[in-house]
Symmetry: C2
Amino acid sequence: MNSIDDTIIALATPPGISALAVIRLSGKNAIEITQQVFKGKNLLQQPSHTVHLGGLGEKGRTIDEVMVAIFKEPHSFTKENSVEISCHGSPVIVKEIIKLLMAQGARLAKPGEFTQRAFFNGRFDLAQAEAVADLIHAENDNARQAALNQMRGGFSKEIQHLREELIHFASLIELELDFGEEDVEFAKREDLKKLIQQIQIYLQSLIQSFDQGNVIKNGVPTVIAGKPNAGKSTLLNALLNEEKAIVSDIPGTTRDVIEDEVVIGGVNFRFMDTAGLRETADVVESIGVERTRERMKNASLILYLFDLAQTSLEEIHGQEKELQSLGIPYMKIGNKIDQAKKEVIEQLPNDFILISAFAKTNLSQLKDKIVSFFQIKEIKQGDVVVTNMRHYQNLVQTNDALDRVLHGMDHAVTGDFLAMDIRQALHYLGEITGQITSDDLLANIFSKFCIGK
Amino acid sequence: MNSIDDTIIALATPPGISALAVIRLSGKNAIEITQQVFKGKNLLQQPSHTVHLGGLGEKGRTIDEVMVAIFKEPHSFTKENSVEISCHGSPVIVKEIIKLLMAQGARLAKPGEFTQRAFFNGRFDLAQAEAVADLIHAENDNARQAALNQMRGGFSKEIQHLREELIHFASLIELELDFGEEDVEFAKREDLKKLIQQIQIYLQSLIQSFDQGNVIKNGVPTVIAGKPNAGKSTLLNALLNEEKAIVSDIPGTTRDVIEDEVVIGGVNFRFMDTAGLRETADVVESIGVERTRERMKNASLILYLFDLAQTSLEEIHGQEKELQSLGIPYMKIGNKIDQAKKEVIEQLPNDFILISAFAKTNLSQLKDKIVSFFQIKEIKQGDVVVTNMRHYQNLVQTNDALDRVLHGMDHAVTGDFLAMDIRQALHYLGEITGQITSDDLLANIFSKFCIGK
């Protein structure tokens, strides 16, 4: 059993050899524990937010010379007494220091335990705590900004405010129930309806932001598909600006799925070059074609390449029909425009993007189209975007419960049913910000954190 | 051209995703530069060794919420104004913060540039600066302690002291030269001789410590050799406490050299399991045997295994002769004592270590013998051990030059020749602690440091 009174310890920086490593302690006795092995000033007598040079070790044995920063409750990340020890960045030193401090009474922190304590001690709500992990794992600047905005408050305050108003109504309706048969109405139905509509407008704006938020946080798996020799590997290399895939004139050159990530317009696109779609007797190639179809089904976007130098309009229409049937968003790209017949180009529908992957013609237009396809805009300071699948699901469930409340009122259902749906909505809302939690939920969230955070 | 007035910046913690990353600045304007993009208290008005929470970014855009520690000259590692920024451990955030601060006038630090500045500004001498790198790269606790002792002063003070006395004599002798034909003797030859002998006693103790120091710092490449099926792979696995090498009854199972490191008695032993030594028609195995011989030649220690169950005393003597001819230190190990004939064991010379690798009999005795073979003792706080090849070479060269001085005095050479050899000794001594340096020497030393140190 882990008590909240424990003092926890962990390496907070990545493992490895480096100039510095930072070991972090938090807990009632964090400063006392450090003081027992610190050779320098008496840390217990120093003010918060100060840094002190000294040796660290037992009597007659110094492990390292370190800088110790102390933070006194509640003025720390966890709101507990905290210590950050900056030592030389050697794994041997880190191991010895942690061993030493554990011998003084600290215990190894579990993943996310520092942030969990910050949450328990009211530094921030659950949605903000989750944003701390998102911030650390942000893969591009847009994702970083979305996470930072969320960590700094994001939708938390607004959701808590709306939730309180809803609680007020729920209480009134439940009060009515106490009066049983008397047919009183403490909660004015008109006001409740207005409040719910107001909440739903806010919820829906958050729900809609997830389309973008998900793309920003998780990136876009994008398959480059098309018939053999349509120029898929050439396009991948051009998008990556390197010779990642082997390119040849021989149809069927690519068999494995070759992939890599590029940030375009603040979003990580994972481009996958695939085997060209054709019936083939080559066993390895046919496995490749099978994998291509698999990837296409799981993609968020298909860049479908047509070889304009080789393909007739009828073939183009045929391929597009097949493509449509997948139900995955796709963009039609006419490649090799420099070799295409004039009449083919003239008769192509408007929604074709015409490029030459080899000559790198129109590539920046292609990138612009990809970005605008997802309606990605730069995240600014203060923009609220839902990037977390858990938040998204709870927002949708809250909205559904509120739909049921509205529907119930329209059909004059009794107060007890209304109250049930309102309580359901409150539950889902409360789970987002962590007013309502369970051990499972918390364990699930914090176990995904780094140790030391 | 890099001016010492520049403010340098680097990530000081390992790259990667983690709870924290620390970015370090040093230079006259380090605090001003940070202040320009810090949203919090005015850092310029804060005392040294304090930590401050705030946003970091330009107007209208915050990159991250960070903790900024400030250190005012000369009370910092570099003795310059310094700043340590603790941000969330995301590579995206680190990149953006460094970009931002470079736009304010900081420039990227070169490897070791922080330590180089600390050296230039007199925080420590060159041998101590090198110990900083050794401390970071220490692979076991003994190496850590040796480096820490050196960083804290080690032989530096003593060498500087002896060097000053020697300079005194050199000056006197050079003064004599000014008087040309007058045959004065300002430097008493008897006193000079005493001083040199005293210096040499100290130098020799340092030189001798390198045997151990080198082993502690660089580890011991140890080849496990012997005839096929002598039990080499079984011994490797037993020493490593894992199933690293494939073991079978079939002679010739091991072909590649399989290796791994274990710390025994504070020293990293790199044990190498090798192909058994025999003539073989198998091409792959014969390449393996060739490699075994190669490794044996380059080893610092050979653990030679005799299969006591299969080998006659004559064969044992034959194999040992071959072994001796290599000129590499070796230990003779009789394996499979549980299956050995009594008369073989009784007639074995005393210097055989008898084990059963399979039954793990006598393994700890074997380990003790290995450790005592290198006369390794635990490094205690304050022990002075030379671990650095450069220091060792300079110590030897100093000693040689002093030998020449003594020899010269015995043969009554003229003062100008004495002075030359003394100056030579002073040069080599001064290079150790950095009183004498060249750009090449410094570049060579500091380029091996981490960036950020």
